[in-house]
């Protein structure tokens, strides 16, 4: 019986959410191709106790794998694949996987199918879909080389199954690794020292424009930003007026930002502002003028008086966060 092997990634000792999504993708692929599902993870066996139904659960254990290195992981996974002979090897598409999986594939004489969002079965051929041109185009691929086929799964593409006890005992696998084969010396991960304001790397931004009318009203938006856990930013007129410091200005003469969420409050959307935030993944605009240009680039829009909408939103967010 052929095998779909999912190589999970541990995050603070247990499989990360995106790993469980990859596992769900593996389960679906195993079902579709009539294969059995195996899972492996670098780390202690105890961390793999709630992965549901599996044909094999393998904890890869070796002191040289305590800290991630591409050399170590490549060698360990290559040995595991040699032992299990799977048809498919799935990974979560994480920074770590992007770092070592192409190397692993090359060592096996294969190419990793990276960042896959979906697959479909067409006769005996599995067609995988991945995005091209930053998501503007989908590409459909199939593997022409013999097994194994290595695939990494995009975050959010599959829903992780509810956790259930692992159906079989976890085996331990100790790869043969030599210290000399590990050429890189990784340091301890750290978070960047909190700079004064670095809007460019902020994941969430609440930005305020001249619709706020008065310096005293800034507090209203500040509360919203706090509730959301977002950085506060502003358009140029606000910073020019000195209501917020210049370092919080977004736009052509200020910072260029690309957050996951950009919530524009009372910003009509002058070009100088738009060029500074057009890379945002999701734009929400609150403005009283339904013709405000900001709505042209917004994903979600609320037409209304910001002095009513913002407090309502702050309350709703606080409630949602509990």
């Amino acid at each position: 019986m052929s095998t779909v092997l999912v190589i999970l990634e541990a995050k603070s000792g247990s499989p990360s959410r995106i790993s469980l999504e990859a596992l769900a993708a593996g389960a679906a692929l195993a079902t579709a191709t009539g294969a059995q599902l195996a899972a492996a993870m670098v780390g202690p066996a105890a961390a793999m106790d709630s992965l549901g139904s599996l044909s094999a659960a393998i904890a890869i254990e070796h002191p040289l794998l305590d800290r991630y290195t591409a050399d170590g992981y490549t060698a360990a996974c290559a040995q595991l694949i040699a032992r299990l002979q799977p048809d498919y090897v799935l990974f979560p598409h994480t920074y770590q996987v992007r770092d070592f999986a192409p190397r692993l594939a090359t060592r096996l004489g294969r190419v990793l199918l990276s960042d896959v969002t979906a697959f479909s079965l067409d006769g005996n051929t599995v067609t995988f879909t991945r995005q091209l041109f930053q998501g503007k185009l989908n590409g459909h691929y199939h593997a022409a080389a013999p097994a194994p086929c290595l695939v990494s799964i995009q975050a959010g593409a599959f829903h992780a199954a509810p956790s259930a006890p692992t159906s079989i005992p976890v085996e331990s696998f100790a790869p043969a690794l030599e210290p000399s084969a590990i050429r890189t010396q990784p340091g301890e991960p750290f978070r960047a020292a909190t700079q004064t304001v670095d809007l460019s790397s902020a994941p969430l931004i609440v930005s305020v424009g001249r619709g706020i009318k008065d310096e005293a009203n800034i507090a209203l938006v500040q509360e919203l930003a706090q509730a959301l856990g977002a950085e506060l930013a502003a358009s140029r007129p606000i910073c020019d007026a000195g209501w917020l410091p210049m370092e919080r200005q977004v736009g052509s003469s200020g910072q260029t930002v690309a957050p996951k969420l950009y919530l524009a409050v009372g910003i009509s959307g002058a070009i100088q502002h738009l060029v500074g935030m057009k890379g945002s993944q999701c734009v929400v605009a609150i403005n009283k003028d339904e013709n405000a240009p900001i709505f042209e680039i917004a994903d979600y829009g609320i037409v209304g008086d910001l002095f009513e909408v913002v407090p309502a939103l702050t309350t709703a967010i606080r409630k949602a966060k509990g």
Partner: protein, 256 residues
């Protein structure tokens, strides 16, 4: 330090995407080509290293004749010479095939450092560099933000997920893939363009490199995603609109 920068020429980022008659790629007739963005950052890092420590920067690119223009641009920005792997049929290769061509083309260079961008703006595979490292048998590290030369090799700043970073040390020769946005790119100058005209650009015919062109992955078809970005207006009283937005932020944007 002898540094090779592998760059790719890609359709400009906001090119209008139309599918060609084969259904397997986009129509290229009305497309302008640019240097891949993260490759531009890789080039910038290479130039900064050269300015700080001396040495040579060689740009390497594969593709049809038009790729020469992108190599010239890199020469104009300060690279010393270029290698063009000429091929009109790169699309029939997978990332491993392209990396094999590159490995063969630079085999005699014995560079101390090879830099590439993190991933291409068109295919977005993010693999060619790492594969090249394995083919050349040298260590690599990806998502690099900063490079420092040390006595024993390099000390790197690598980006991890969720705002975490890590320092990594590794010996040279090595290959690094560079993350976009950490340095300021230099603009092309008239003086650079004029100087570039006298720099060496060696063209290597891909066929002469003797690489087996059997791809392990095949792109069968491309399709436009069905969902396009539209603005969704959330109506109702302020409280209703706020509640609707919170729901969107939880379920679709997934930031709550």
């Amino acid at each position: 330090m002898k540094i090779i920068v592998a760059i790719k020429q890609v359709p400009e980022r906001d090119a209008r995407i139309r599918i060609d008659s084969s259904g397997r790629w986009i129509a290229l007739d009305d497309i302008e080509f640019r240097m891949n963005e993260s490759d531009a950052y890789a080039l910038e890092e290479a130039l900064l290293l050269k300015e700080a420590h001396g040495g040579e920067v060689i740009v390497l690119s594969a593709g049809p004749e038009r790729v020469g223009q992108t190599i010239r641009e890199a020469l104009a920005k300060g690279a010393d010479r270029g290698i063009h792997i000429a091929s009109d049929s790169l699309a029939s290769l997978d990332a491993l095939g392209v990396a094999r061509l590159m490995a063969a083309a630079i085999a005699d260079e014995h560079a101390d450092l090879i830099l590439t961008g993190l991933q291409s703006d068109d295919l977005g595979l993010g693999q060619t560099g790492v594969i090249l490292a394995e083919l050349l048998g040298i260590p690599h590290s990806s998502l690099i933000l900063k490079i420092e030369k040390t006595d024993s090799g390099l000390r790197l700043l690598r980006e991890l997920e969720d705002g975490w970073f890590q320092h990594i040390s590794l010996p040279t020769p090595a290959l690094l893939t560079i993350q976009s946005g950490n340095t300021k790119l230099r603009y092309a100058t008239l003086m650079g363009i004029k100087k570039a005209k006298t720099k060496e650009l060696r063209t290597v015919d891909a066929a002469s490199l003797g690489i087996d062109a059997q791809p392990g992955l095949l792109l069968d078809a491309v399709a436009l995603p069905s969902r396009q970005k539209t603005t969704q207006m959330l109506p109702g009283t302020p409280a209703e609109a706020a509640a609707a937005l919170v729901a969107k932020l939880q379920q679709e944007v997934r930031v709550l």
